[in-house]
């Protein structure tokens, strides 16, 4: 297993480089120069040239790429003031990008982590129920709700929730993580979290419970379930011990694949609810043409996807004794 993980990590490097190349090319092939935003009347030519030199924009593209990517991987690099400069500096406020990113991580993880936990806790029992009582009223209701929920565009849902609960009924705050100028404590945070978490959870539960239901139905058709019944096991034991254990295997891998979203966040949800997370920052970066930040964001996203796939595969091997690497 350890050799497998190492092998996967090594395989990941060319992929990361591929991602880097693609995103670097996009940034540089875009019309206009990266520093166009600085070309205001107030900025003198000399200052512009300084900027160009500072960001290395006077060198050729391959050179720029190499220096950027080699710096990028040396995450530990600091300057003499203790700032982590490996990922460059943001165009918008000149701060080290690595630090900006790290600042935002807790907010995003809190939001996505809570949403994920809630989703799992709701979706698995619901899916099992629908599968076990197939064709019953409960199953039909669950299937319809899941299908509709899955079809709701995430931001339409978010806006509707915002409108109904925050504006109309005034039950929840409009945006942000904390009340401005208010207390920083837990209840306030929780209050702010309700709507965005609900928005994310409704969508995810719809998808996951369908998945769980399908997996459970697939498992219950198997021969070994018939064997379990022929042994005289009560139906509850057949379901919880024999069926569920097998049905959860694909769900566990799904869990692994959801990990990328933990960090890259839901750009749209964070935008609607003004949640100060990574997704929001990345989106702002694109608007502000903050290219170094944009590049960093793509790299993070890519790394998360690769990590998520790896975790999914490892979890798969852990829960399914048939898989050995």
């Amino acid at each position: 297993m350890v050799t497998y993980v190492i092998r996967r990590v090594i395989q990941a490097i060319p992929i990361l480089i591929g991602i880097a190349i693609i995103s670097f090319l996009i940034v540089h092939l875009a019309p206009g120069s990266p520093i166009d935003k600085f070309r205001t009347p107030r900025v003198s030519t000399e200052q512009l040239n300084n900027l160009i030199r500072m960001y290395g924009l006077d060198k050729s593209i391959p050179e720029q790429f190499l220096s950027w990517i080699s710096s990028f991987f040396q995450v530990w690099k600091t300057d003499n003031q203790g700032h982590f400069i490996a990922w460059g500096f943001s165009f918008t406020d000149g701060r080290p990008i690595l630090e900006k990113v790290v600042e935002r991580i807790p907010a995003t993880m809190l939001l996505m982590g809570t949403a994920l936990a809630t989703t799992v806790v709701i979706a698995i029992p619901v899916g099992v129920l629908a599968a076990v009582k197939q064709y019953s009223i409960a199953d039909k209701v669950i299937t319809v709700l899941a299908t509709v929920g899955y079809a709701l565009p995430s931001y339409w849902l978010g806006i509707m929730l915002l409108y109904i609960f925050a504006i109309d009924l005034n039950l929840f705050p409009l945006y942000g993580m904390h009340t401005l100028g208010g207390s920083d404590d837990l209840p306030d945070l929780a209050w702010h979290m309700v709507l965005p978490v609900a928005s994310l959870t409704i969508q995810s539960v719809a998808g996951w419970s369908r998945y769980m239901r399908a997996s459970m139905l697939e498992v219950m058709r198997q021969d070994y379930i018939r064997t379990a019944r022929a042994k005289g096991l009560p139906p509850s034991r057949v379901i919880t011990k024999h069926a569920l254990r097998n049905a959860l295997i694909p769900i566990v891998t799904l869990l692994g694949l959801t990990i990328p979203t933990l960090l890259s966040g839901a750009v749209i949800t964070e935008a609607i609810f003004g949640w100060p997370g990574l997704g929001n920052m990345g989106y702002q970066a694109v608007i502000d043409r903050d290219y170094p930040l944009v590049l960093a964001f793509v790299m993070i996203g890519g790394a998360m996807v690769i990590l998520g796939n790896l975790i999914a595969d490892i979890l798969y091997a852990v829960v399914d004794p048939r898989i050995k690497y």
Binding site: D223, A230, G232, D320
Partner: protein
Amino acid sequence: MSGHVRVKDLRAGALKEGANLLSVQDLRTYFPTQDGVVKAVDGVSFEIEAGRTLGIVGESGCGKSITALSIMRLLEKPGRIVAGSISLDGFDLVKAEESEMRQIRGNDISMIFQEPMTSLNPVYTCGDQIAEAVSLHEGKGHRSAWEHAVKMLHDVGIPDPARRATQYPHELSGGMRQRVMIAMALSTDPALLIADEPTTALDVTIQAQILELMKGLREQNKMAIMLITHDLGVIAEMAHEVVVMYAGKVVERSDVNTIFDHPHHPYTRGLLSSIPRLGEKRKRLEVIKGVVPNPLNLPKGCLFQRRCPYAMPICSTPPPFQEVAPGQVSLCWLTPDFKPPAVGADAPAQIAEEAAAALSVAK
């Protein structure tokens, strides 16, 4: 499960050899479908005596597996037992409550299936799965159930049973998995083992080993076996009595020697003559012409008439169960010496029906 009143508690050898263990009377299991009612089992009767082996033989789709599932009450929807009785030492399985059936399954009656590759749960060890049956029905604790499981693995001839018990099904070959299934089925010492095509999915050499194993175990345990197969060779090897099924009905019933030496029903005769024999000089293999009837389009009268070389006009009336020899019944109009019945081959239907009523042997 301890503390519950046991419904039965038939251990192998509990009844004297030859005593009536399982009695199936006029069993009818139907499947209502969108296109009509499929009569998978339509009036099947037979008996299994304690310590004896009954072989049920027939083509795919003739209803033999459904019969077994009906006995175990493991039918999938929409199948239902619509009539008949199944009596286990006097206890009616058709009318039993589900909770009572659960006490019987895996305990008094055990069943093994055709596909050893997929019949074991891939995420639990073999030992766990055997021990589960034991601890469920006999209330044993984990350690003692595990020890019993290892002993069972040993009894079914698996080398190094203690290690094998800790392995997962995918680490075992097909033959070994079937042995594990047998071990699991026999771990509670059932009075009756139902084996549904236990060797069909296995290589011929492994097949022979499994059959030897089963013969040895039934000697040792004195249990009854209901052996379902389409392979006449297996029947010859294992069965004491034989039931031949066709299209949901029993067409012939006798002891194994009579079936092979003096078959009566044309279908049985067709099955036997289609087995190629070594040393026989023949240009072409014998076949039974035609195909099994579509269950939604059954002929009136005898179900075999469209394929039968002896078919007569009277065959469009349902044939009676004739006792063509002591202990041998056949669902056919032909007399024991293969002549048309005395009432005349071209008799009009009504007379034929009366003759059928007169000839019917209630069995």
